[in-house]
Amino acid sequence: MKTSSDDAAGATGAIEEPPPTGSQTVFLSILRVVGALAIPIVGFGVLAVAFDFLREADANRFLVVGVAIVIGVGGVFFLYWGMNRVIEFLPARYQEGVRPYIFVGPALVILAVFLIYPVINTVLVSFKDRVGEEFVGLDNYRFVFTDESMLRAIRNTFGWIVIVPALGVSIGLAFATLADRLRRGEAVAKSMIFLPMAISFAGASITWRLIYSFRPEGFGTNIGLLNGIMTGLGQDPVSWLDIKPWNNLFLMVIMVWMQTGFAMVVLSAAIKSIPDEILEAARIDGASELQVFRRIIIPTILPTIAVVTTYMVINAMKVFDIVFVMGSPETRGTEVIAERMIDWFFLSNHDGRGAAIAVILFIAIIPVMIVNIRRFREEEAIR
């Protein structure tokens, strides 16, 4: 969505016309707003009517689905096409001033309704009580920064955003560099590392529950992989997930396991795109492999490393599934911010606190985004 809006904004700038008079400007603005709003409003209207009609319909399900797809996709296409035709009836001097808004406007309107409005509303709710009715001032934020469990959640999330990207990127980079040097089997090796990426977070967590599984004496044999190794070596089984605070690290391992593959693939592509001439030149000048790696490979792929890190930081910030599926976050002290948010919203049914935690999480992500966008702009400028 964002890229298309950027392109279109560029297109408006390209229009060169004699400066319009005051009344013309007003008229143009009105046309633009109407144009931007018309498609979403008409579109939603048509979809709502079609949805009601199809829901009542007693026809074959596949037929209904087919008709829905035709109406949905074809309808949107027809709307844009129709609006484009309508514009052609306007006086020529308005046409090019309005047209971009017909195409970008709907995206912006939909973005506002589904993204900006909820954000504003969440901020409002965060100042309200349990059911989101009366204002309670800063109570919810006071709670967020004083409650023991919340403080643990903030500490743990901080751990996640430092440790997971650090481990994920360094292991991924190591694999990418080493796999690059394999004579055979590079694809197989990389596929193996990449495989966990295809599993859902919940699925991976369930797998790891079995790896960490622990049963105290008297409750049957230990079926966990790690405890199988422990008992095989003649040691007592260990309740891995109850060792505070290291259990947090054991949970982070799961995300590292899942995301290393992603880091590896992206970094590997970056390494392969380094021109051979540069590497060869360095080697001819007598640089050791380590020097080539540190002085040439790393600086060249730094932007990619930054992007992968950002991606992993954001993922680590939002982690919920792993902590939730592994169970008992409060008893084990493995709470994280997103998990607290779900807990307060849906399990403890306190909308105000849930929203306050959501706002904190949102604010925490902003700096990461700014850094990332700034870096992206710098890259653009170089180009």
Binding site: V119, P216, G218, V266, K318, S328, E330, L347, I365, N372
Partner: protein, 437 residues
């Protein structure tokens, strides 16, 4: 230039990730709307799918052929969210709620319809379900919940065949139960199997223990004061109950694996050792539904049996259950409720092998339950409900969620991990978390 192209994919991914993160902070907000009368009555519930299927089969059998509307039981995995969304959208008919506290929240939310408005005679309902159970769904003088299911929590299970062979007898007081535990220990066995792990809800079985002991030590009046926070959570009465609980949990050799392991033993796995030969443990306190976790070949009355949690100074019966809350005032909804809570349907429910439901309707006798465990539980419950005074509804389900499904669970676990001396701190922490009102 190449670098830039390499950036494109990750950048798009980052944007998607960021967009998702912002979306997560949005909350559901449905518009107002009126449910259309389509001749159906929808019953949204959080039951197990099998149990939902049993209810649907009973409705298809006994209700749907006789009426001009269709009853649909709808089971939902994300029940709480669905209720919230559909209540605001105005598309709910009837929901089956396991927590009385939520009944009041729904009434407060303004979307639920009171039984008075639906035209029910409250006096008559009190005769059917007992005054106490019905009063749990009361909000500002009106009633919002019809009891539709009940389960007995004050149950101690034991491996009957081995138990009898060892010459043990069923205790009738708390002291006798302690004496029995000592005897088992002296014979080289481990008396208790306890497990509190339950994923996001870890700790709830421990609150049941506390509640049982509260009822048995302080009586129903103090119990109700405790639930309503008319006495503090660190009141001497609660302290006393906590100490008795600790006496069982922390006495050396009483609990299989030791108290500090109990938070990581799944509550469903906990009774397992009882069925080993010789039994890994001899006593297990858990509600009636735990039979679903027993080995499939274990036979009620032969391999296992139960006795009511014994009295200390008072007699009390702890139970939990479900209340039907109505969101749509239509004649067919009222008609459905009358049939659903009536003896015919309720009795049929007890005889379904796939269901462990017990009827809260006191007119439904134990004969309706082919399963001897349920029949026995039904007898105890009917007596407690009709007697009025001796029954107590699960306290943690009635307390505000910050406590009832928050600190009460977690602090009980830290009590288990940190030992008997931590009890005062544990109770103070729970007291401090009680929301100011």
């Amino acid at each position: 230039m190449r670098k830039v192209r390499m950036l494109a994919l990750p950048v798009v991914l980052v944007m998607i990730a960021a967009a998702c993160s912002a979306e997560e902070s949005s909350d559901g907000n449905g518009g107002g709307g009126q449910a259309e009368n389509k001749g159906t009555v929808n019953v949204l519930n959080a039951l197990e799918p099998e149990e939902n299927a049993v209810l649907q089969a009973i409705a298809d059998d006994l209700i749907n052929p006789e009426v001009d509307y269709v009853v649909e039981f709808e089971q939902s995995g994300d029940f709480e969210q669905q209720v919230q969304i559909r209540a605001e959208g105005g598309t709910l008919d009837v929901i089956l709620l396991p927590q009385p506290g939520s009944v009041q929240a729904q009434a407060e939310g303004g979307n639920a319809v009171s039984l008075e408005d639906l035209g029910f005679d409250i006096g008559e309902l009190e005769g059917t379900f007992g005054e106490y159970f019905l009063s749990l769904g009361e909000f500002e003088g009106e009633h919002y919940g019809i009891p539709t299911n009940i389960n007995l929590k004050s149950m101690v299970w034991y491996p009957k065949d081995d138990f009898d062979a060892a010459g043990y007898t069923v205790p009738s007081t708390f002291d006798e139960m302690i004496a029995l535990s000592d005897q088992i220990k002296a014979d080289g066995g481990t008396p208790w199997c306890v497990g509190f792990e339950s994923e996001a809800a870890t700790g709830w079985p421990a609150t049941d223990w506390m509640e049982d002991i509260m009822l048995a030590t302080a009586g129903t009046e103090t119990y109700t004061q405790w639930v309503n926070h008319e006495i503090p959570f660190n009141d001497p009465a609660v302290q006393n109950a906590g100490e008795l609980f600790g006496d069982i949990m922390f006495t050396d050799g009483y609990v299989l694996g030791g108290a500090d392991q109990t938070p990581s033993i799944a509550f469903g796995d906990a009774p397992g050792p009882m069925f080993q030969d010789p039994p890994g443990c001899w006593l297990h306190r858990q509600a009636s539904f735990i039979t679903a976790f027993f080995p499939e070949d274990a036979e009620a009355g032969v391999d296992y049996d139960w006795f009511p949690f014994p009295s200390v100074e008072q007699q009390g019966t702890l139970f939990a259950g479900e209340l039907a809350v109505v969101f749509s005032n239509r004649p067919e909804v009222v008609d459905f409720l009358e049939r659903f809570m009536g003896e015919e349907v309720q009795c049929q429910m007890g005889s379904e092998p796939g269901s462990s439901r017990i009827s809260p309707n006191v007119n439904v006798g134990p004969d309706c339950y082919p399963n001897p465990i349920l029949a026995g539980a039904s007898e105890v419950l009917t007596e407690a409900l009709a007697g009025g005074g001796a029954a107590g509804f699960d306290a943690s389900d009635q307390m505000p969620p910050e406590v009832g499904s928050g600190t009460f669970w977690t602090e009980m676990m830290s009590y288990m991990q940190e030992g008997p001396d931590s009890l005062p701190t544990v109770l103070e922490t729970i007291e401090a978390s009680w929301p100011a009102e």
